[in-house]
Structures are given as structure tokens and as C-alpha cells.
């Protein structure tokens, strides 16, 4: 859907050239949520601004649905931008306009008549959950509500793509989750392609299908989120993945639980996405006559399933323990019995 070829943006400074985006090539599929992660200054914002040419590329090519964006003249570019929604870290709402008027702004730009505009705005207000706040001014809204207005505004002209530049970075964790949920539901409902820029791994983990890791203007790693999580190759990627599982597993603390006792077994469960259900542990406890004692670990939910490691103690008859381990295995989770070395 979006094809980016050898895209570069260089800023010419007095004494040096900044290669903000350096020879980036990517293919982004229709309907996917594509994440770009990188540290501050990696070139993420410049990259996303190149996609609607708020920044003019130094070289390279962007095609959206077989149409070259980089070749478009001024007027055609303006029309095309109406089909590329964008949301921002600091929301960038017009404070002199109400919620309703802010959402209607892109429709005014597109030249829609008042009646159709009203229908569209009402629909969008419903979609982002701001019913009753139509006549509020941005200054009367919370951060999360402001971003909802931003999202509604970005969706007004039925865009093909939504660009998000650090859309949740100014929000508290709870509000961040709400906004991310909203983005996922929009992605599903409208089959909207979303390109999302962030420096926070949990944002990628929570909603993205694929991820690109940027460093010094280059994409150093790209792939399915789960694959990148399980098997990060680059050093930067590894550091980002580690943001998510700060609890280093501590084998020392497991020692006390590992005994000769036949009716107790410490096992390591390795979730690698796929079919494993969130309720697996409670299912085991319900279906088998065992106690499941969770010792340590961390599990992350991604769009492609659960990922992470869990250490549990199974307490029950030997045969039942075996049966439950088989059940877990069949659910697509790797099971490994932990013994004292």
C-alpha cells in the first residue's frame, strides 16, 4: 500500500549535514498498524513528516496506492493530504474553536457543505466517545480527550492512512492505554492503515503488527512485532525489548521451591504468541486437580498473542501434573521442567 524507496532527508547546517533520514526503504501493508521505534533524535518525526511531505525529501520515492506522492504538484499534494490523517504529541488543536468546530475544520478545508459536515462530525464524535462535549473548548478537556478530538479530526476526510507522531507521549499510562485501544478499534472498524511513531516499546507491543527500529536515520531492524520481541537482533532493539521485561529472572529465588517432592514440580512456561490464551493458567487450575503457584515471570500481550516467560509450581498428583503439562504444551506454550543444577 505504501511503498518507500531509498528515502533520505538531509538538513544542511552551517558546519555539518544532518542525515535525519538516511536511505530508508519500507513496504507498509494495507490495514496494518506499523510501528517505528527509536530513541530521541533517531529521525522518526522527520520520517513520518516526509510521508505527507510536511518535510520535502532530499531523495527517494514514496508511493501510496500506486500513486507517487513525491511527484505530486502543490495542488494535488494538498488534495492528497486530505486523505492522509495525522495526529500529534501535543494535539495541535485550535483553541479558539470548540470540539465540534475543530473536527469540522478539515471538512471546511475539503469544501463540504454544512449539512453533510454536521452528519460526519456527529458520527466522528460518537466514534471517539466525546458525545456531550461538542461545545467544549480544548482548554476545558483532559489530555486524553484532546487526543480524541485530534483523532476525530484526522479521520474526518476518510483517510487511507493515519500518521501518529508520539501520539501518546504526553499522556499518563492509563490514558495512553485508552487512546491505544481507540486506535486499534479504528484500525479494525475502518480497516485503516496506521503508521505510529514512538520511543516506548509498550506502545509497539500493545497495538502494532510490525515494527521498524530506527537509529541515526536508518532502519536497523524490521519485522513482525512478536518475532522482533522473541529474537531481537540489533543491540538497540534488544535494549528496547528489555524495557518491557525489567524483571530479570532470578534463579536463586526459585531454588527454595525446587525439591525432591514428587507432588511438586517447578516448570518454566515460555509463551511465544500464537494460540496461547490469556486464561490458560486458570483453565489448568480448573480442569486438573492441581494447585498452580505462580513464582515469577512476565507476560506481555501483543496483537499477535502473548509473549513472555512464567515460572510456576504445579502441586498435585504426579499423573495429574504430567497431564496438565501436556495440556499446556498443546496450547502452544513451551514447557520446561526446572531442576536444581
Amino acid at each position: 500500500m505504501i511503498s518507500i524507496k531509498k528515502l533520505s532527508k538531509h538538513f544542511q547546517m552551517k558546519d555539518q549535514t544532518v542525515h535525519a533520514v538516511d536511505d530508508v526503504s519500507l513496504e507498509i501493508e494495507k490495514g496494518e498498524i506499523f510501528g517505528v521505534i527509536g530513541y530521541s533524535g533517531a529521525g522518526k518525526s522527520t520520517f513520518v513528516r516526509l510521508l505527507n511531505r510536511l518535510e520535502e525529501p532530499t531523495s527517494g520515492e514514496i508511493t501510496l496506492d500506486q500513486q507517487s506522492l513525491t511527484q505530486l504538484g502543490k495542488n494535488d499534494l494538498r488534495k492528497k493530504r486530505q486523505k492522509i490523517g495525522m495526529i500529534f504529541q501535543h494535539f495541535n488543536l485550535l483553541w479558539s474553536r470548540t470540539v465540534y468546530e475543530n473536527i469540522a475544520f478539515p471538512l471546511e478545508i475539503a469544501g463540504l457543505d454544512k449539512q453533510s459536515s454536521k452528519e460526519k462530525v456527529d458520527e466522528l464524535i460518537e466514534l471517539v466517545g466525546l458525545k456531550g462535549r461538542e461545545n467544549s473548548y480544548p482548554s476545558q478537556l483532559s489530555g486524553g480527550q484532546k487526543q480524541r478530538v485530534g483523532i476525530a479530526r484526522a479521520l474526518a476526510n476518510d483517510p487511507e492512512v493515519l500518521l501518529c507522531d508520539e501520539a501518546t507521549s504526553a499522556l499518563d499510562p492509563e490514558t495512553t492505554d485508552d487512546i491505544l485501544d481507540l486506535l486499534v478499534s479504528i484500525n479494525k472498524k475502518l480497516k485503516l492503515t496506521i503508521i505510529l511513531i514512538t520511543h516506548e516499546m509498550h506502545v509497539i507491543q500493545k497495538i502494532c503488527h510490525r515494527v521498524a527500529v530506527m537509529e541515526q536515520g536508518k532502519v536497523v531492524e524490521v519485522g513482525d512485532v512478536l518475532e522482533v520481541f522473541i529474537n531481537p537482533k540489533e543491540k538497540t532493539t534488544k535494549r528496547f525489548v528489555q524495557q518491557l521485561s525489567p524483571l530479570e529472572h532470578d534463579p536463586e529465588r526459585l531454588k527454595d521451591f525446587i525439591t525432591e517432592d514428587e507432588s511438586k514440580e517447578v516448570v518454566k512456561l515460555h509463551f511465544v504468541g500464537g494460540t496461547a490464551r490469556r486464561s490458560l493458567i486458570s483453565e489448568v487450575a480448573k480442569q486438573f486437580d492441581v494447585y498452580v503457584n505462580i513464582l515469577q515471570g512476565s507476560i506481555s500481550q501483543t496483537q499477535e498473542g502473548s509473549y513472555g516467560t512464567l515460572f510456576v509450581e504445579l502441586d498435585g498428583e504426579r499423573k495429574v501434573i504430567e497431564a496438565s503439562m501436556n495440556y499446556i504444551r498443546n496450547s502452544g506454550v513451551e514447557v520446561e521442567v526446572v531442576t536444581n543444577a
Binding site: 510536511l54 493530504r81 495525522m86 495541535n92 479558539s96 475544520f105 479530526r153 500518521l163
Partner: protein, 222 residues
């Protein structure tokens, strides 16, 4: 009682002078507003990194604005006499004061407009661009709307300065309260006339200040 305190004040003259002062102020505020907005927009838009970024035009505009701001108003009136004569066909009366009033205060207001526009969040302009807005949409629906309270505040300050200018213009025959205070008051040693004119001018200033603050507050939704 009043007649005892103000033996030389002729009410009819005072009202006429008040009317003339208001006439000069209102018309020149309108003219200053239009010319100031145009110059202020030009200063802002041609500045580096902005929509019409252009060093030459920016430099010329800034120079014109600075030069006219540097000329003392009383001298500006004298310099503009031929221009006024050509434009208004007279160099006396309230009408003749208008060109000097507008040309004298528009550069001042232009700078205030420029400052107001600079305060508009760059991110909001960027957002409008990302929606495919045309330049005139950005100017009229984003820049001027988002800076409205500051534009009104600046206009209030300018209007009050203009009331002062009308009094100066009065001294060389523009009419209005300044004229009355100087010709009938000061020249004829009628201190009561000077005092009455002062009270009226202060009242006008207060009304403008109050109205400006009121409007500015009403439209400020930040």
C-alpha cells in the same frame, strides 16, 4: 454650580470637539487595524521559516515599519502635509488628520500584530497543512483566529495611543478636544476649558480600555 466652576466652557463646543475626537479615533483605528494587519502579516509570513519566507521583502517591510515608527508624530504630521493636501484636499479639520494618524500608528500596530502571530503555536499551523489547507485558509482561519485576543489587546493599546495623537493633531488645527484645549483653553488662559477637555479625554480613554479588555476576555478561550 457647574457654570460657576467652568465659566468659559461652552457645552456645545465641548460636544462638537468630543465628536471630532471620537471621529478621528474610530476612523483611524479602523484604518490602522487594516494597514497594521497587512503589514504585520507581511512581516510574519516573510520571516525565515514561515509560509512566504523571503528575506528581501521582509527586510524592506521591516525597514519601512521601523523608519515610520522612529519619526515623532508631530514631525510626521508636518512631513505628510503635501500628501494630506493631495489626498484630502485640505490640511485642516479632523479629516485632514486621518492620513497622519493612520500612517503614524499602523507601523506600531504592525509590530504588535507580528508578535501576536509569532505566539500562534507552530504545531497548529502544521496540523492545518497536514489537512491540506490553502495558504489563505491558514491565514484567515488559523493565524488570525488563534491570535485574536492578542490582536484585540494590541488594538486597544494602539487606540489609546491614537487618542493621544488626535490631541497632538488638534494643536495644529485638526479639531477635537486637543484643539479645543489648546486654542480656547491654553491660548486664552481658560484653565477650566483645559480641565474639562482633559476629563473628557480621560473618559474616552477609559471607555476604550474597558471595551478592549471586555472583548479580549470574551474571545479568549485558552
Amino acid at each position: 454650580m457647574l457654570e460657576e466652576l467652568f465659566p468659559n466652557v461652552i457645552m456645545e463646543n465641548l460636544w462638537t470637539a468630543t465628536y471630532e475626537t471620537l471621529y478621528m479615533t474610530v476612523i483611524s483605528v479602523i484604518g490602522t487595524f487594516i494597514l497594521g494587519i497587512i503589514l504585520g502579516l507581511l512581516l510574519y509570513l516573510t520571516d525565515r521559516g514561515n509560509l512566504w519566507s523571503n528575506r528581501v521583502i521582509n527586510g524592506i517591510t521591516a525597514t519601512v515599519v521601523n523608519v515610520f515608527r522612529a519619526i515623532p508624530f508631530i514631525i510626521l504630521i508636518l512631513l505628510l502635509i503635501p500628501f494630506t493636501d493631495f489626498l484630502m484636499d485640505t490640511i485642516r479639520g479632523p479629516k485632514a488628520a486621518l492620513p497622519a494618524l493612520i500612517i503614524g500608528s499602523a507601523p506600531f500596530y504592525a509590530r504588535l500584530v507580528e508578535i501576536a502571530l509569532k505566539e500562534v503555536d507552530k504545531g497548529v499551523i502544521e496540523a492545518a497543512k497536514s489537512m491540506g489547507a490553502k495558504t489563505h485558509t491558514i491565514i484567515f482561519k488559523v493565524l488570525l483566529q488563534e491570535s485574536k485576543p492578542a490582536l484585540v489587546g494590541g488594538l486597544t493599546v494602539t487606540a489609546i495611543a491614537l487618542i493621544g495623537y488626535t490631541a497632538i493633531a488638534g494643536v495644529i488645527g485638526a479639531g477635537g478636544l486637543g484643539d479645543l484645549a489648546y486654542m480656547h483653553g491654553f491660548q486664552r488662559r481658560n484653565n477650566d476649558v483645559v480641565f474639562a477637555c482633559t476629563v473628557f479625554i480621560v473618559a474616552i480613554v477609559f471607555i476604550f480600555q474597558w471595551a478592549g479588555d471586555f472583548v479580549s476576555k470574551r474571545i479568549d478561550k485558552r
